[in-house]
Symmetry: D2
Subunit: 177 residues, 4 copies
């Protein structure tokens, strides 16, 4: 069975979105690139900064509430359905819950052939890239660099610390039949 | 059965996105807002300006190719699955194919209770708003103002020519149980 | 002497930027459009949310600190120099200090022929447009609707409550020799 | 005399903007970051894609016309005036004309203490980063990688091929008294 879904998991500023775009350019078939950032933008403004939704703590921490989780699960089902309907999909996510987050995707993506990719980046380097992006909230890159990979099982791991996004993408593309 | 999906159809610069955000603020439950613009951004860059994907002609026309249609159908299935999984969803679309576009959504959304809303705007006013948004490609607003509504059946129609987005949203919200 | 500078003053969500873009389209000569928003984006991230720089209070209030004021004055001198060097310039600003803000621009623009335009919008309508834009911080539109015009002297006043940006722009353009 | 202006010159996707933001974070005093991209956004939409303004050729080339040049010169005078009025300014530019572009800035910045910084990036690496940014027009990074440095004299040169933006910024910051 041909791989229909690529999941990229990594901390903020680890380079996932850049890899996703390079994968779209490197792979011969058209792939859609979707990510948790787009899901967050689809939320009501009121949930984008609230206890029930998603909240950024001053130090770069992210807290998600019950309504966020319910809607996110529904969004994950939608992404899976898009893949089942025939589209190839690259998912760009931050597993705030580590292994538990992967389990939620495993449930949603049941029956689909998925390539699980860990996107690593040294915490200090990721923190520097966060500054270079001009994000006003700082600390997220460092806090997430290790924690999002805890207990997660991968088919493939790449590291953007010393490797360009396009080269990481080529490594991943080589694994897609 | 409670309405789970609101479809807003209207031409470019008719005010759909603004109404969607006002609906999110006006409705007591959280609703996700998704739109064809996000789908287009999820496409590979190569399909965003090609015969096989989507192409803007100089005069504001939009041509979509076969690969675009295939992926869009899969995306529509995904949006429907998100609603079936329990999320309330506002869909913001431009029915380039008029009644045929509605039929595609009817197929995808089968079994869901949908409120179909036509978002009208006078062609000259929409063309002015296109200028005020600073879009480099002009003409789309005028070309689409009438054509996207051809043969489409609505539960409700609003007109942003002389009515604010928030007032249109309140009219729509009043129809949601 | 031909007018080289148009200053648009109005509260948040009153429609200044849209009028600026329509003016650029309506006027036969090329005009640059600059605004205080671009100045804020040019600040260090650290000043974009601090006592010394600019800070948004929860209710839509804006507080600017001493370092903001010093840099803003220098930026105003730069805008004036651009006009003196031969460019036609549309300035889009929010006079948080009312008449005092106008005096700062009068100092910077000394010797230039300026058209002062007040951009009004009913507070309730502006607040609705703030929602339709999806801003997460609310209240700014309402707080600023009246206060930014206090004590300010205009050559021309427009009101976007019931008039489109393009029509306001045409009224303004008719005053430019 | 203390340095008041830092000019960063490099090709598209060489990493200038990231270095500018890191410089703002690394330097103890507040610095404004301005760039030619903001100038282009200030142009009328009609000049953003025309013979008289700026035009992108299909292969990544950039052509600027006479009206662009006149307005750009006025904008450069404005940036210089901002620095003369007391603001510290980081300028992020692409010297399409090489040494001739530097001469234009030398004229505008006369009397100011300027640090001239060349931002290099290997053409192949820059082309890869162009893909990872998702730009629809490709080829600009490669075309500009060498040509923008032709005949330009620098106080300092950095290379982002194997060095992070933050590290490049620290090297530059160490040269500012």
């Amino acid at each position: 069975m041909a791989t229909r879904v690529i999941v990229l998991n990594g901390g903020s500023s680890s380079g996932k979105s850049g890899i996703a775009r390079c994968l779209q350019a490197a792979l011969p078939e058209p792939w859609l690139a979707v990510g948790v950032d787009q899901f967050i933008k689809a939320l009501p403004a009121s949930l984008q900064a609230s206890d029930a939704g998603i909240e950024l703590t001053g130090d770069g921490g992210v807290k998600v509430g019950p309504e966020f989780m319910v809607l996110e699960t529904a969004w994950m089902e939608g992404v899976a359905a898009t893949a089942r309907a025939g589209a190839r999909v690259i998912i760009d996510d931050v597993f705030l819950g580590g292994a538990a987050s992967q389990q939620r995707w495993l449930n949603a993506l049941a029956g689909l052939d998925v390539l699980w990719v860990g996107v690593h980046c040294d915490a200090v380097v990721a923190a520097g890239r966060e500054i270079s992006r001009g994000d006003r909230v700082r600390g997220m890159a460092e806090l997430q660099a290790e924690s999002v990979h805890r207990g997660v099982a991968y088919d493939l791991e790449v590291d953007t610390t010393h490797t360009e996004s396009l080269d990481c993408a080529r490594t991943i593309a080589a694994r897609i039949g």
